[in-house]
Amino acid sequence: MLRYLAQRLAYYAVLLVAAVFLSYALASGALQPRTYFESKVPRPAAASVDRQLTALNINDRTPVAVRFGHWADGVLLHGDLGRTIHDTPVNDDFRRRVWVSLRLLLIGSLLGMLLGVAGGAWSAVKQYRITDRALTVVSFVLLSTPVFLLALLLKNGAIAAKDVAGHEVVPFTGYETPGLTGGLGTHLADWGLHLLLPTLSLALGGLATYSRYQRGTMLDVLGSDYLRTAEAKGLTRNRALLRHGLRTAVIPMSTMFAYSFLGIFTGAAFTETIFGWHGMGEWFIQSINEQDVNAVVAVNLFAAVVVLASGFLADTLHAALDPRVRR
């Protein structure tokens, strides 16, 4: 199992380097920081624009490979992601925003995964009952609603609730109440409340996707002989379903977790923007509009690391659950 995981890790490292280089080249080619400086009022001299661009390591007259070399040097030797177009360290922004995004991503995807697996398995056990049918209808509708629309609908709902109640029922902007005083408990409650709607808009999509597939794999398992054997040997129905049924039915899902994380990442970028979270997604859109190459690359790096980490986790889960992989 360790050998298998080590192989996967090595492959992912190669992929990461290739992906980061590719995104660096793309960002350098597509964004035009020179235009950004030249359109300032009053218009700076060409030589000073050039000097500024070179200082930031985003001068389009330096070959991309050379710029990438500089940038990679800084990242690998000093953990320095370069400087933004406003000449502040990218690391500062990165550090400030990364937890905002990760909080949303982790809780949203884990919650969606757990609810989806549980809901799908429950649905399979109760096939054709009313709960199964209801969950199927709900997940079909959720699957057909883009994440940004779901987030907007939740936000509109919160606004409507506020209008009806006369005060804010559920917060729908930002991730904390500014200037909140009180102990740790107050702060945690505040965070939780702010997390509610953004997390829901991510988790509901996950719930819909996972429950559909989990229902399918679970139905396959339910008719199997080994499950009947387990029951015949004296396990209770529930115990047999959990220990022998669900475990087998989750295996094919582990690959899906990795793939769907891509979708969740994209969804989180939308959700952050809609709910006014100052996270990586908002930063990305803002940086594109400001032609800020280094910041854009930093978000790409973050995305690649997150996606590959989730892929590796899925591999680990797969290896842990499926004895055929460990050899």
């Binding site: 995104s23 057909s144 907007l152 859109i285 854009v296």
Partner: protein, 347 residues
């Protein structure tokens, strides 16, 4: 009603099936029968058809143009004159919504068509040639999956400002084929060792012809199902990117741009937002229902006649769109559960 499913069951030789009433029914008839038996799929097909009629025929029903303002009616709620109301500068929301629906439908269809074709070609080449071709193409697939397509499209799209929505279609299709290609590859690997492919090889048929004539037709049922579901996905990506200003742009209108325009006013002037939102969800839902019905109807492991209430065992699992053939899951050359059924097209 029969027109929709029939066009979707392409691979079967329908006339042969029709000529012999007794005996086992032909595959085309079997699939059609199953599809018509699935009430939800029929409902989805009818809805899609109606939405197309509405999008392309609807503009003839209203005297208003989608761009021309009516200064006598600013932000009016729905009425007999303006069926969906008007927006802040007096444009008719009904005409605008239909216009946006047109664009979103066309983009969704084109993206699904292009991306499925690309996926079929790349996946079949990787699976058929194997070796370094396979390794390189699969590395490309992995690489493109690592960078979320949203990030790449957002980066590149400002460069395409001048080239209109067709460039946007190309961009969406270019980042939407990877997972399908994986599945086609694993299906091709298992097909490539079959007798009819071997026979063609020994007869000296060129590889590209083998892929196009013998391999891809055998993956048709998967490709059709996948393309159907891809339409819904493409429409969702399109609206999301357009919503944030990175997709369809100003002179063009899509459901995404309409939603973006209506968002801030949605709580007070709901007609600016909810008609577009409702049509969007309705269309994607209908497409997903067709896709789900097709998947069941084309599934070779499903029993021929399905009772309304099946016993627990008989139900074949809804086949995951990413079968175990996905990278890490099943070892190197194990075809996923999507092993195609027979050498029908070998003749």
């Amino acid at each position: 009603m029969t027109d929709v499913p029939e066009s979707l069951t392409a691979p079967a030789p329908a006339p042969v099936a029709a000529r012999r009433p007794p005996g086992p029914p032909g595959r085309g008839r079997l699939v059609l029968g199953r599809l018509l038996g699935a009430r939800w799929a029929v409902a989805g097909a009818v809805t899609v058809l109606l939405l197309f009629v509405l999008a392309f025929g609807g503009p003839y029903l209203t005297p208003w143009d989608y761009a021309a303002p009516d200064y006598t009616a600013l932000r009016q709620p729905p009425s007999a004159a303006h069926w969906f109301g008007t927006n802040g500068i007096g444009q008719d929301v009904f005409a605008q919504t239909l216009r946006g629906l047109q664009k979103s439908l066309v983009i969704g269809l084109l993206v699904a068509l292009f991306s499925t074709a690309l996926a079929a070609l790349v996946g079949a080449c990787a699976g058929y040639f194997g070796g370094w071709t396979d390794r390189l193409l699969m590395f490309l697939v992995d690489l493109m999956l690592v960078l979320p397509s949203f990030l790449v499209i957002t980066m590149v799209s400002p460069q395409l400002k001048g080239s209109g929505w067709i460039a946007f279609v190309a961009l969406l299709a270019l980042f939407n084929w990877m997972i399908t290609a994986r599945v086609v590859r694993s299906m091709t690997i298992s097909l490539a060792s079959r007798e009819f492919v071997r026979a063609a090889q020994f007869m000296g048929v060129r590889p590209l012809r083998i892929i196009l004539r013998h391999i891809l037709p055998n993956t048709a049922s998967f490709l059709i199902t996948d393309a159907t579901i891809a339409v819904g996905g493409a429409v969702m990506s399109e609206t999301a990117l357009s919503y944030f200003g990175f997709g369809v742009r100003a002179p063009d209108v899509s459901l995404g741009t309409l939603l973006a325009a209506g968002t801030s006013e949605a709580p007070v002037f709901p007609w600016l937002f909810y008609f577009a939102a409702g049509l969007l969800v309705l269309f994607v839902l209908a497409v997903n229902l067709i896709g789900d019905g097709l998947r069941d109807a084309l599934d070779p492991t499903a029993e021929a006649a399905r009772p309304a209430r099946r016993p627990r065992r008989a139900r074949p699992a809804a086949r995951p769109a990413l079968p175990a053939g996905a990278p890490e899951a099943s070892g190197p050359r194990r075809p996923g559960p999507t092993t195609p059924r027979s050498n029908r097209s070998s003749s």
